[in-house]
Symmetry: C2
DNA sequence: TGCGCGTATGTCAGATCTGACATAGAATCA
DNA sequence: TGATTCTATGTCAGATCTGACATACGCGCA
């Protein structure tokens, strides 16, 4: 499995635990990727909340549909800077961002 | 005044309100810069807490003293990605990062 | 004063990211 | 089925960032 696919898997709903379970990822890299994915998901949530397509959001962000898609997928070729700026442009507040980053409790195994 | 100096001013203790008071900065740019400055300050706090010089921290981060200095100054040539990764490498958790980002209440004018 | 230590800042070659484009996949509708 | 809409993904030229280096600044100490 390719390390580069991690973000995609995570975003696709592979929330069974954390990134490290699949790959040998250092603690700090895992924390970074998880943070990025959390922000990417928040971005998608903000966009969907406002009933925008990726193309429409791209117009607002002065970017392109493909880049918005990559942001939401937490693609390797996208920086946290871009995701953060986009969140704020879509109306997110610092509190929203902080909340998105705060680690969520994992559901206890039954 | 140069827009590029903003982060530096902020980091240097110009906390009298927000960035927008000085410059015409869009809401979203202001939020972004303030977030970056907050992370930069957190990074410095983590380093100082561990009694490290910028050069020592740079060694741990596999970077250079000058870049660490720029990170802490929230310099324009430094990305949030780099600051975030550095925070995690110095032992910060996602919660630490979320807390650093959460906007602090401004002290009420007497 | 000069020395040592830590920090700040300008510069640059090589690395990485960005918007844009092209194209493919998936879902809905008639 | 084809048409439409939305999303996913590969590529690339130009823009931006990175580590490293050089150098300057500030401060305490002998």
């Amino acid at each position: 499995m390719d390390k580069k696919k991690l973000a995609k898997l995570e975003a696709a709903g592979w929330k069974t635990g954390s990134a490290q379970d699949f790959l040998q990822l250092s603690d700090e890299e895992a924390a970074f990727v998880e943070s990025k994915v959390a922000l990417a998901q928040a971005l998608k949530a903000f966009r969907v909340e406002q009933d925008l397509s990726q193309a429409e959001a791209a117009h607002l962000l002065r970017s392109s549909q493909s880049r918005v898609g990559k942001m939401e997928a937490a693609d390797q070729t996208v920086t946290v800077d871009l995701i953060l700026r986009s969140l704020f442009k879509l109306g997110a507040t610092r509190k929203d961002v902080a909340d998105a980053l705060r680690p969520r409790r994992i559901a206890k195994a039954h």
